[in-house]
Amino acid sequence: MRLSASVATRVVGFLLAVGISSIAQAQAQIPATQGQTKPICANCHEDKWHAIDLTAHGARNDSNGSMCQACHGDASEHLKDPIKSKPANPFGQGKPAADQAAVCLSCHSGNRNLAFWTSGMHAINQVACSNCHSIHGEAVLPTYNGVNLKTQKVTINKFVTSFLPNQSEVCGTCHQHIRAETFKPSHHPIIEGKIKCSDCHNPHGALSPVMVKQPTINDQCYSCHADKRGPFVFNHPPVQENCATCHNPHGSVHYKLLREHTPNLCQDCHDGSRHPGTIYGAGGGFTCQAGMTNDQINYPGCFGKPVGSLSAQVNTRLIDRACLNCHVQIHGSNAPANRGQFFLR
């Protein structure tokens, strides 16, 4: 008898769940209450309630703890005897990510940022909402767009003038190779807190290969670097095809986020007569003239050497920015004739 009644209760409960969630969805939210009190759950679980109180989740709660139960499951038996019966709670350790996502998505699936959740790499790789979001965690103020992220308790970073928690610490917990790139000398201001991972990527899923928000990599880069959009008179086709051919957006040991030191980066595509095909090594550059060999301040590479020997400073095609010293407008040029053809102006 116990079995059939409990089955009946569960069936009704399930139908009600579907019915209620579709009513709730039609309203797009569970109604806020008036004359607020704490939910009854807070009588024991005070700290959990306090963390959620001033958020949108807390606003939709009522003294019966409807919002608590909407995520953690029915608690009526639990109220009678907390030890004997606990809510179903899909957020416990080891519970499947898809179950957790189903709970959040029962309200949030229509959210414009979550529209592509199931198509995205996080859903496929079984990342759960609570891996990144801390609904009940310590209220870390301020939040990003009103949602708590599980920031690391121990911060490992340079001195940052910003008081805000750093979003890249959340993503870097799993994406360790990206975290490593952000600490390299040339980087987008990610560890400084001025750019967030979510400025380029949509962690909630997107219909593009690495979940960038725009349809192509170049569109994403141009959304900030509008000066590179052009269109230019003279184009550099690899630039228009994919910025990431030459640049690593997360960080690099070479200046300007380049993947390889110039001139070698350019020489990997460009060969031919004269300087594109020349070896630029540690050998000296210009020939020391009279007057340079005793001028240590202006010509340290010639100081103390005989006139006519090679300076210790390397070739002008290797100093500074190498090829880009002359081929300045490498992303495209509007200069006329050969000045534009070779990106010199």
Partner: protein
């Protein structure tokens, strides 16, 4: 049972009603706010000639640090606001808010500096404007003026979203980004590297204005949206005029990025809850970018005595740039059976170049350095230049058109509990207009295995294989080895060349002890470029990353990471010499030259050998520079980067109001380039005399941070901090730096000088930062407690599928053990005393040893003396301490619940007037109760 069912039905109907109800009069709906602020100061002692390397994106100058924040809501309205570092170059503030179910809106302001160099020098006046003037030569750098190379960026924007008419929504957002300053740049003095270049501070006066309007319809089963984005990029200075050192300080011109306008339409659709638990998602975008540029008819290329060399001869004076970009993406994810996840996707991209096509005359007729024509093969000049048009040159604007299709699928199968296998395949092809490659396609496979069977260790390993094939456009190959185009078929571009990639990635997460977690990631990939004669041949990437964290209960928490990466780029090249210095070789080397091959010796020898199989050299006559002919060479660049970081948070056990944080990071890169060339020139060195480079972007960074926070009260706290940062860069390119650098082939020393501004001169430095702040925060007033609810009336809001039926069980036992607080903790503390640990060992751990535990509930209680909230907090912290200790003793963490009930449920009531007696009487209330439910192992 029936009564419960009925009450459930009724209650659930009523729970839907409040959606329509209004706030009844007399209800209190107070806006409850929490917030606070911080004020303090920072002092920075920098030891660096060029401070920019230590402060590239932040304002770390002396001054005041500050922040203010507030957040609040009532049942209908909410807001959140924050601002920091007011008045500094990196200040940031935002405000957001709305009415639940009606609208939300926000606005922000974000400032950021970008510093390149603080002590660059230049001979020019007018830095930051579009006119840089100087009279050359300027041979004494001590007379040049110093300037800050860098810009300030400001991003301000906001959004408004209307949500009342659900399922419809409407949103408008926009922002404006302004740049003000200078950035790194330079200009060649003429058309040859032999005549040098000059560093130019490029003015940056950009303003990008963006507006977006979006509307959509969203329910749990479908979503549609339509969005229009408009962006206008405005550059206040599109031409930079600068005095050219080579041409008598006459004004030259560099074209800076043009204004552009960007319009984009995006439509998306989602259908959920389809058969097989499927979701279909689609997005289409169409965008157009336009620009307009005036083409100048002259460009400074010589002294005024040879005006013909300054002519650019465009066939039209205005360039109208237009790019149209379309993209379509479709994804179908399905969950056909419980253990299988599948995904099928299709992406399509098309870029059309509709810009005007401009042709430039080949003026005058010679290739570089005479005129501005682009030809390598000189056509004949017109008979009468005054009346006949110049022949068209071959300056090729290279308009880029592109279309790519990409289709693929992946399947993940959970074939056993905690084990998952994944497999995927992807195919893409593309067509484009590009001088070297016009078609390519690639097949990609991956296979992966994931194991989460065990409690303390889980891992995932993934193997990826890519095979890309491209059609190298051979229509440009030259006819004979004397023709530069003969080399084109042998030259590869690594972004398009045939490629085979093998890559492995491994993730491992291991929790050897309850408080110790480690996480490892290993990457290994080899990209082999196939069929390469010249160009990059390979790309090897390895990376190994380890992070770990350890924490003692209520005590110190330590986290650390260690990473090592290595990247290699080997490549093949050819050096082809032209005779620009010295007489042509006359000493004949008796080598017979087969027909069609380069003529390499004797009178009329042309060592411009574009045949990859030819190695041409000649004995140099005395007096000429030691040039060789043409030969093949190879090189490899390598970067080896490693970094370690460690940090700790330590609440001092002997002084609980103090919290110490410290972290240290060390990042190091060693870069190198090695070369190999055939043997040997007349001096006995390999051709080109290659010298390996041992310092190629060798950088070292150190960041040390320590701070101490003293919580004076719950509201006030003080923080003092110190940071030490150090940066150094050792690179061959800035070794033996000279502001005035002659070119390797000096024609006349003062006219072939390059003028540098020292942007790379002084990268090394360190800084010591001291800072001190005081913070205040206040909590929102608490809500009144929920009225005691008759449990039978508790309405059910069940949003979850029902739990599985419990397994048939033996009668479970419940044990309750009460421990007195005095035996566990010192007065007003939540850290377990040694006697407390012993008490738990003997009274709790022993009893639970042989029980198959279902749940353990640890509840902390205090007596009634003191405030509600304080006692509540203390009881929670004490329960947590006992819980953590039990976990350390081996009780599984997921079976223990810890709660605090503060003053509630006292076991004794006392009314003594004498305080000492009252405290003694209330002692039984100060307790921690441990209730365990489980089956006895017997």
């Amino acid at each position: 049972m029936r009564k419960t069912l009925l009450s459930t039905l009724v209650a659930s109907l009523f729970s839907a009603v409040p959606a329509f109800a209004q706030t009844a009069p007399g209800d209190e709906d107070v806006l409850r706010i929490e917030g606070g602020g911080t004020i303090g100061g920072i002092y920075n002692h920098q030891n660096a000639s060029d401070k920019a390397k230590l402060q590239e994106y932040q304002d770390v100058g002396n001054g005041a640090l500050s922040n203010v924040f507030a957040r609040g809501r009532n049942s209908t309205n909410w807001f959140e606001g924050y601002g920091e570092n007011f008045g500094r170059d990196d200040q940031y503030m935002f405000i957001r808010g709305g009415v639940y179910g009606m609208f939300k809106a926000g606005a922000y302001l974000n400032d950021m500096p970008h510093d390149f160099s603080t002590n660059a020098i230049t001979p020019y006046t007018g830095v930051g404007t579009g006119l840089l003037v100087a009279t050359f030569p300027q041979l004494d750098p001590s007379q040049w003026s110093s300037f800050n190379l860098g810009y300030q960026r400001r991003d301000a924007g906001g959004y408004f979203e209307w949500q009342k008419n659900t399922p419809w929504y409407f949103r408008v957002d926009g922002n404006q980004v302004k740049f003000d300053g200078t950035k790194v740049g330079s200009g060649s003095n003429a058309n040859s590297p032999g005549t040098g270049y000059i560093a130019l501070p490029i003015p940056v006066q950009y303003s990008t204005s963006n507006v977006g309007v979006e509307g959509g319809y969203q329910t749990s089963s479908t979503t549609y949206s339509l969005r229009w984005d408009y962006s206008h990029f405005d550059n206040a200075i599109t031409t930079l005029n600068w005095s050219n050192p080579l041409w008598g300080s006459l004004l030259d011109a560099t074209q800076l990025p043009p204004d552009n306008t960007f319009n984009k339409f995006t439509g998306t659709a989602n259908w959920r809850n389809l058969p097989w638990n499927s979701v279909i998602a689609a997005r289409y975008t169409w965008s157009k970018t336009t620009s307009n540029v005036n083409i100048p008819s002259t460009q400074l290329n010589s002294f005024p005595t040879v005006p013909a060399q300054n002519l650019t001869l465009p066939d039209t004076g205005t360039f109208n740039g237009e790019n149209v970009n379309q993209a379509f993406a479709l994804g179908w994810t399905a969950h056909p059976i419980n253990t299988v996840d599948t995904r099928v996707f299709y992406y399509w991209t098309k870029l059309q170049n509709k810009s005007s096509d401009i042709t430039f005359g080949d003026a005058p007729v010679n290739p570089l350095p005479g005129g501005l024509g682009c030809g390598n093969v000189p056509p004949a000049p017109p008979a009468n230049p005054a009346t006949t048009a110049w022949p068209a040159g071959n300056c090729e604007p290279d308009p880029f058109n592109y279309r790519k299709n990409d289709v693929g699928f992946d399947v993940f199968w959970r074939f056993a509990r905690g084990q998952r296998l994944g497999f995927g395949y992807d195919y893409w092809n593309l067509d484009q207009t590009r001088v070297d490659y016009d078609k390519a396609h690639a097949n990609t496979f991956f296979v992966e295995y994931k194991n989460t069977m065990f409690d303390t260790i889980s891992g995932r390993i993934k193997y990826r294989y890519v095979k890309r094939d491209s059609t190298h456009n051979f229509s440009n190959d030259g006819v004979s080895p004397n023709d530069p185009n003969f080399l084109l078929p042998f030259t590869s571009a690594f972004d398009m060349q045939d490629l085979t990639t093998n890559g492995v990635r491994l993730y491992l997460d291991w929790t050897p002890l309850p408080q110790l977690t480690t996480s490892f990631q290993g990457d290994w990939a080899r990209n082999n470029y196939n069929n390469v004669t010249y160009g990059r041949t390979d790309n090897d990437v390895q990376g190994y990353y380890l992070s770990t964290s350890w924490g003692a209960p209520e005590g110190i928490m330590v986290r650390g990471f260690g990473d090592w990466q290595q990247v290699k780029y080997p490549s093949n090249h050819r050096y082809i010499n032209t005779i620009s210095n010295g007489p042509p070789p006359t000493a004949a080397i008796p080598i017979a030259t087969p027909p069609g091959w380069c003529v390499i010796s004797g009178t009329g020898a042309n060592p411009n050998c574009f045949d990859p199989n030819q190695q041409a050299y000649f004995a140099n006559p005395p007096g000429s520079n030691s040039f060789t002919g043409s030969y093949n060479w190879s090189s490899q660049t390598k970067d080896e980067t490693w970094m370690i970081g460690v940090g700790a948070d330590w609440p001092l056990p002997f002084a609980p109001q103090w919290l110490l944080n410290a972290s240290y990071i060390y990042v190091s890169n060693n870069g190198s380039a090695t070369f190999a060339a055939p043997c040997c020139d007349k001096n006995g060195n390999p051709f080109g005399n290659p010298q390996n480079i041992g310092n190629f972007d060798d950088t070292r960074q150190q960041y040390f941070n320590i701070k101490a926070t003293y919580a004076y009260t719950k509201s006030w706290s003080f923080t003092a901090g110190y940071a030490y940062e150090k940066f150094s860069r050792n690179d061959i390119g800035s070794q033996n730096f000279t502001y005035l650098t002659p070119s390797p082939t000096i024609v006349a020393p003062s006219t072939s000088l390059s003028y540098l501004n020292g942007y790379y001169l002084n990268p090394n430095g360190n800084q010591n930062i001291f800072w001190l702040t005081v913070s205040y925060k206040f909590d929102a007033p608490p809500l009144p407690a929920a009225p005691a609810l008759a449990v039978a009336e508790a309405p059910k809001v069940v949003a979850l599928p029902p739990p599985p039926p419990p397994p048939p069980a033996r009668a479970p036992q419940v044990q309750k053990i009460t421990l007195q607080a005095e035996s566990l903790f010192d007065f007003d503390k939540a850290v377990l005393k040694p006697e407390g640990k012993a008490a738990i060992d003997s009274q709790v751990v022993g009893k639970l040893a042989n029980v198959k535990l279902e749940i353990v509930l640890v509840t902390g209680y205090t007596d009634r003396l003191g405030s509600d909230s304080y006692n509540q907090d203390l009881s929670v912290r004490r329960a947590n301490s006992v819980r953590d200790y039990l976990v350390a003793k081996g009780i599984p963490r997921d079976k223990i619940e810890a709660i605090g009930l503060g003053k509630k449920k006292p076991v004794v009531e006392c009314n003594q007037k004498n305080m000492k007696e009252l405290i003694a009487c209330l002692q039984p209330n100060r307790r921690v109760e441990v209730e365990a439910k489980g089956e006895s192992a017997m």
